[in-house]
Amino acid sequence: MSVPEDPLVVSTAVGKHSRGKGLSSNLDVKMGIRKTKILRKEAKIVSGVERAARSEILLVEDSGGIEVDEGEHTLQLKQFDITKKIDIASATKGFHLSLDEFGPYKLRYTNNGRYLVLGGRKGHIAAFDWVTKNLMCEIGVRESVHDVVWLHNENMFAAAQKEWTYIYDNQGIEIHCLKSMDRVINLDFLPYHFLLVGGHQSGYLSWVDVSIGKIVSQFNARSGPVAIMTTNPANAVVHCGHTNGTVSLWAPTVRKSLASILCHGCPLSAVAVDNVGRLMATSGRDGSMRIWDLRNSYTPLLSVKVGISSLLQFSQRGLLAMATSTDAMIFSEVSHKTKPYLKHVANSQISSMQFCPFEDVLGVGTNRGFDSVIVPGAGEPNFDALERNPYQSKGQRCEAEIKGLLEKIQPELITLDNNILGEVDTHAVSSSLDKKPNYVKKKDIQLAHRKKRKNAKLPKIKEGLRTELNLKLAKSEHQTKKREEQSKKTIQMSDDDPLSRFAKKSK
């Protein structure tokens, strides 16, 4: 990508918005209207990218962070110190809820980070606006609650209970009982697909489309209870961690795992995927944590010994939180150094964690309550109001719901490679060509990319070099011959001529 001339565009920002190199650098089309059209389209895309980069000057908020003096370390900071140094409104975001009776607690924030639902193992479910602390509902379900998750907005949430999975509205009224999702221990929701994903005690995985109330897919993953499960927010693939040290990747339309990655030589204890689907963090029971590159190679970037962690979570800006019994450790610069950043000690065993979207807050559910921990620099400062809006009104919420339903992505489009829609389906083309009867003249279509020569003059140059070399060879041959002849002559002279002793001696 060329550096834009516009002084308001930062070239690094252009890189962020760029969707790849484009065709023009390696265009197979020789000339004519097609090439013009392609180039014109590319110019449009480039100008779009530049304009997106230029719009960054309109972003109003800056991300949070900690600046330390010399000799200090951020790890020394306790929540108490942080709340002293920030404004009162922000300080209220760090708080503790003491819920002694029904723990351990699972928690989940809504997509816009405004609402929180807590599910206590012993049957206590509470949903509230955690910023204003307005309680929406609080119910006792009188059976164990294994996991809770918000659906597409704050009007509904699902709870995986002892027997079945239930859907409640924000008043705590049971509006649905999903009997097909029985003995679920892990829940997740894919907001763009409207899919509720459940990992069962029996080893089954199930995907339920909550907009039509139908099971999209349900099958046995054949590796025991699905205790460790997370979804990749960038491509909606489900990552399951297993006791044999592997992480398997699942999509609803394929009954075999899409990939299985051997991550540790021991049983896994936690798996997390970052916000853009680039990094995966795994931790094993041997106390090691590894960071993996998910985009192309599935290679480990890093391996560190940090102790057995029961939970891993990425924040929007790439911080990684890790829980070891009562401690929550937060790392920064995950992909290259994994530097310890902050540490929070809870008053009991940590049972769940989640970074709040668009806030510098980490929610920690423990055996005896809930901690809201302030982590400067965790959340994305500038939200997109048409995507996820923390300040949305009721009307906007309704509109977003309708838009979301209209744009619901079909489950068939969940694949490992997100770019599959942008590629030419050469397989389909070749099979359609094969299907045509013999008497039809076959079209000569090149399905594979023709390798373009970097230098069009290369063959000429090569030939030139070759002739040059030949010339040189010929010349040197000629010279050696000459020399031989001369030496012969001199030898003869020395033999025959008596005057040869006055001749110049050849070297």
Binding site: H17, R19, L58, G65, E67, S90, A385, R388, L421
Partner: protein, 450 residues
């Protein structure tokens, strides 16, 4: 040690009063917009489905003629004005927006064969089977206050000795050409033609002046040929013989060299007038003879009316139609027009009705608000971007056609397949090279003469 935490002022993100619009801060960071391609694809699918939902092309039917509508003519300067002529010699003037007939004339005795306008749009020239060429005032009310709508007298009339089967006016000069036994060139209101062009003995059925290359004339002859004339010279310039007779000719208003003919062999052919050896494109899809053809004012699309009771719209770069219009009551088409604002199509047919259609069936008529128009434009762009995806293609191509068209189409496919198979078999069982692959575009032209 400094600590900074995100703290947003809610007032900055919410509107002050309910009369304000909502504040919508945007951030185009790709990380905040996951599943870009998938969502765009879903939107494209929705857009193409909505296109089919909104596709209601039929606007109005103008009835009033008491015999089959022989031909239609659009006014060169007035969008709202349309002239139609029937087989019983009646010529009617229509007001399109009001959908009313504003004037009725008994133009000729018997069939009206052709109508054309002078370039200023003041005079209509009509020819008929009664061998008359008549000149009519287009706006009698404007030109003479005492005239009534029932002005029935022609401004001028020429009684000829020739058979006249069509007429077309020069785009700039006071010249017009008629066809019939031969091509005749007339000037103004003179009683005798100023020139006569002959090539062979057969008669001509359609004639059209080129609107941009103004001295060039194209004509379709009954001996299956297309003839081109240049009125600056004394004789015709070029001729191409096709497999079957051509019924109508239309010039591309944007590319002066290009014209289309409607042929009896169910196809329309687009030619470059400099090279008649091979057509530029063949428009296939009709299942019966194509009777009339007209270019859109943009020169990017053509509309054809056929004997199979359907109207089809073709894009000039493609060989298959993008749209087919039909109704239960519409019979065989006699004439089609594309209006000068590129928005409507007008058709005249056997059963005495003139019909008004939208050129883009899904288009919303009338004034649109900015956001609505933006949404429409976005949908159009999406449809174009994802046009080649199988699902999108399937939905956008699907059309319900009358049963007789469906059956005829099936039959044609069978015939074509069997011919191809036979040719393939012959090719397979003879010496290589004896049965060559002949492109479809070269098969149709029998000969080119200069």
């Amino acid at each position: 040690m400094k600590v900074k935490v995100l703290s947003r002022n809610p007032d900055r993100y919410s509107r002050e009063t309910s009369l304000d619009i909502h504040k919508l801060p945007r951030n185009y960071d790709p990380a905040l917009h996951p599943f870009e391609a998938q969502r765009e694809y879903t939107r494209a699918l929705n857009a193409v489905k909505l296109e089919r939902v909104f596709a209601k092309p039929f606007l109005a039917s103008l009835d009033g003629h008491s015999d089959m509508v022989a031909l239609l003519q659009k006014h060169p300067t007035q969008l709202s004005s349309l002239f139609s002529a029937a087989a019983d010699g009646v010529i009617k003037q229509w007001n399109i927006p009001l959908r009313t007939c504003t004037r009725t004339i008994q133009g000729h005795e018997g069939y009206v064969r052709g109508m054309t306008f002078t370039p200023d749009g003041e005079t209509l020239i009509s020819v008929g089977d009664d061998k008359n060429i008549r000149f009519w005032d287009v706006n009698p009310l404007l030109n003479s206050p005492e005239a009534t709508t029932e002005a029935v007298v022609a401004k001028h009339s020429i009684i000829t000795k020739y058979v006249v089967a069509g007429v077309s006016h020069h785009a700039k000069k006071p010249l017009f050409a008629t066809c019939g036994d031969s091509c005749l060139l007339w000037e103004g209101e003179r009683n005798e033609p100023i020139h006569k062009y002959d090539w062979g003995v057969d008669t001509l059925s359609a004639i059209k002046f080129n609107p941009t290359q103004t001295n060039v004339l194209g004509a379709c002859a009954n001996d299956r040929s297309i003839i081109l004339y240049d009125i600056r010279g004394g004789s015709p310039i070029r001729k191409a013989v096709l497999g079957l007779r051509s019924n109508a000719i239309a010039w591309n208003p944007m590319e002066p060299f290009v014209f289309v003919v409607a042929n009896e062999d169910y196809n329309s052919y687009m030619f470059d007038m400099r090279r008649l050896k091979k057509p530029l494109n063949i428009f296939m899809d009709h299942v019966s003879a194509v009777i009339d053809v007209d270019f859109s004012p943009t020169g990017k699309e053509i509309v054809t009316g056929s004997y199979d009771k359907t109207i089809r719209i073709f894009e000039v770069e493609k060989g298959r139609s993008r749209e087919v219009y039909h109704t239960k009551r519409m019979q065989r088409l006699t004439s089609v027009l594309w209006t000068m604002d590129n928005k409507y199509i007008i058709s005249g047919s056997d059963e005495m009705n003139i019909r008004l259609w939208k050129a883009r069936a899904w288009e919303k008529l009338g004034v649109m608000r900015t956001r609505e128009r933006d949404a429409m434009n976005y949908n159009e762009a999406l449809k174009e971007k994802f046009a080649h995806f199988p699902q999108v293609k399937r939905i956008s191509r699907h059309r319900q056609v009358p049963k007789h068209v469906y059956q005829a189409k099936k039959e044609l496919v069978t015939i074509k397949d069997s011919k191809k198979r036979k040719e393939g078999n012959r090719r397979a069982h003879t010496k290589p090279g004896t049965v060559p692959f002949v492109p479809e575009r070269q098969k149709t032209i029998l000969s080119e003469q200069e």
